[in-house]
């Protein structure tokens, strides 16, 4: 099992256990983490699963592809270098302990 940490409103941290191959969005849904909507079902079409990846982790994630980059232009909360879409970040052993902050608003 891999650990994935979500920083929610007011800075509260929720740590969930998930498996390799599960996306950050799916892990959030599985564990009832508030704030990631994933309205399009994880197809990288709606930008409602916006997270800010914690600084130390940003460079350790596989790079976003063209589709995700295009969607990151359309998030409701401002997109930053640390921004990723939860549906596109896939958990792996290398990302055990990943820390992400849920964007304040998705719609």
């Amino acid at each position: 099992m891999l650990k994935l940490n979500f920083v929610g409103k007011r800075g509260a941290v929720s740590t969930v256990e998930t498996t390799a191959g599960t996306t950050v969005l799916q892990a959030a849904i599985d564990h009832h983490i508030d704030g990631l909507l994933g309205e399009c079902g994880g197809a990288c079409q709606c930008a409602t699963c916006h997270v800010y990846v914690d600084g130390s982790w940003i460079s350790r994630l596989p790079a976003a592809d063209e589709g995700e980059i295009a969607m990151l232009d359309c998030t409701v909360m401002p997109s930053q270098p640390a921004s990723r879409l939860g549906c596109q970040v896939v958990m792996s052993a290398e990302l055990d302990g990943l820390l992400v902050r849920v964007a304040e608003r998705q719609v």
Binding site: Q45, E66, M71, C74
Partner: protein
């Protein structure tokens, strides 16, 4: 006696989103979500894509876990249908003879597969693809299949064709139309997709009508065309479209046409009854007010939100810019806007990539933009249409004018 709340007929995306949005917007009364299928709401798009390609736990398709509904106080009734609506007394009748009072009733009944108008759909090896049940049976059969025939070169047919091709099958897609996705795409984009699918080894037969499905020992063995020619197959997928589930609405006296007729705020003539998603026909501002029925994730989601807002007392006209996607193997199609009635197209094609952008106009006005493998153009297109940013055919033809720059340079209105 509790005050009646909202009864939602249909546990697809529209019904799920309506229930969720109502709670998000603070609606505190009872919400009943009536689902025909045996499982709570799930995402359909993966059924014709990733779900077919490898191991995927069907539980991962669920929109939310079952405890979510209990937490939110959303009553989900599976394997149930609303069979009648008594609009005089505001009572919905279910197929188990139970009754549900409502203060607001919403049809989110979606659509069902259009049946094949020729014999043979009962044979083993013949499939439709809309539900999880159908996808599971199809997936089980797909392993080891060598020759696939797809009837209907629309979105589902071609998504399946591309998946089957990736799995190593010999694939033929057949359509009565003269090009793929003829209902929804411009001629140039259809031609690009025909070219790319051909490149990937998918055989395509247009202007072709099927006489019957052939069988051997009760299993599909191929198809016979009107010409007499036969094409062998061990699996036949039928993807010739869907028809909206409007029967209960019609029976309770509501106007139906190509869908349950609603107004700009998605209400029927009965202010306590609305319709959303694949089953609803609304007057779209993106189609000069013509009655429009859209089959898309975007429409289901945004129409649900619109009705939720009206129910909690914050009505607005439904005006969201339509958008759509279809992943056919490595070909990612996206569409922004409603392009029906286009009379002019401007094309930016890069066959080597492959990538393509088609701008669709009517009387000089931009209706929409179709893209192949150009997500940045698609997202710019959504903004161009939403903000009504001017984009003339001349500008569209200028390949050096990046759509993203056009959006960035547009004046922002307060």
């Amino acid at each position: 006696m509790t005050v009646p709340g909202v009864v939602i007929a249909g546990g697809g995306l529209a019904g799920f989103q309506l229930a969720s949005s109502l709670r998000d917007m603070g609606y505190a009364r009872r919400i009943s979500l009536i689902c025909e299928e045996s499982v709570p709401p799930y995402h359909r798009p993966p059924l014709s894509k990733a779900f077919l390609m490898g191991p995927m736990d069907p539980a991962k398709l669920q929109m939310r876990g079952e405890s979510h509904y209990a937490e939110k106080g959303i009553e989900v009734l599976c394997q149930r249908r609303v069979v009648a609506v008594d609009r005089t007394n505001c009572i919905a009748g279910l197929d188990d003879d139970s009754k549900l009072e409502y203060s607001h009733f919403v049809f989110a009944t979606g659509a069902r597969n259009r049946p094949l108008p020729v014999p043979g759909h009962d044979f083993g090896g013949v499939f439709f693809l809309r539900s999880l049940d159908e996808a599971l049976r199809l997936k089980a059969r797909l392993a080891g299949v060598r020759r696939v025939v797809v009837l209907g070169a629309g979105f589902i047919g071609l998504e399946f064709a591309a998946a089957a091709r990736k799995l190593g099958a010999d694939v033929t897609a057949i359509d009565v139309a003269d090009r793929p996705m003829a209902r929804a795409l411009s001629v140039p984009m259809s031609q690009v997709f025909a070219r790319e699918h051909a490149r990937n080894g998918v055989h395509q037969r247009f202007n072709t009508q099927v006489l019957r499905i052939l069988e051997e020992n009760g299993e599909a063995a191929g198809v016979e065309l009107m010409s007499g020619e036969t094409i062998a197959a061990d699996l036949v997928l039928i993807g010739i479209g869907v028809q909206p589930n409007i029967e209960v609405a019609a029976a309770c006296g509501l106007e139906v046409g190509n869908g349950i007729v609603v107004d700009a705020q998605l209400a029927t003539a009965d202010p306590r009854v609305s319709a959303i998603g694949d089953c609803a026909a609304h007057p779209s501002i993106h189609s000069l007010g013509h009655m429009t029925r859209l089959e898309s994730v975007q429409n289901a989601t945004d129409q649900a939100k619109c009705v939720a807002a009206r129910i909690v007392g914050k009505p607005y006209d439904y005006a969201a810019v339509p958008w759509f996607w279809s992943d056919q193997g490595d070909l990612k199609l996206q569409i922004a806007g409603l392009t029906t009635g286009m009379d002019q197209t401007v094309i930016r094609d890069d066959p080597a990539a492959p990538a393509c952008t088609v701008f669709c106009y009517r009387e000089g006005r931009l209706l929409g933009i179709e893209t192949l493998n150009r997500p940045a153009d698609h997202m710019a297109a959504r903004k161009i249409l939403a903000q009504r940013i001017a984009l003339t055919p001349e500008q569209a033809a200028d390949a050096h004018l990046e759509l993203k720059q056009l959006v960035a340079a547009a004046p922002v209105h307060a």
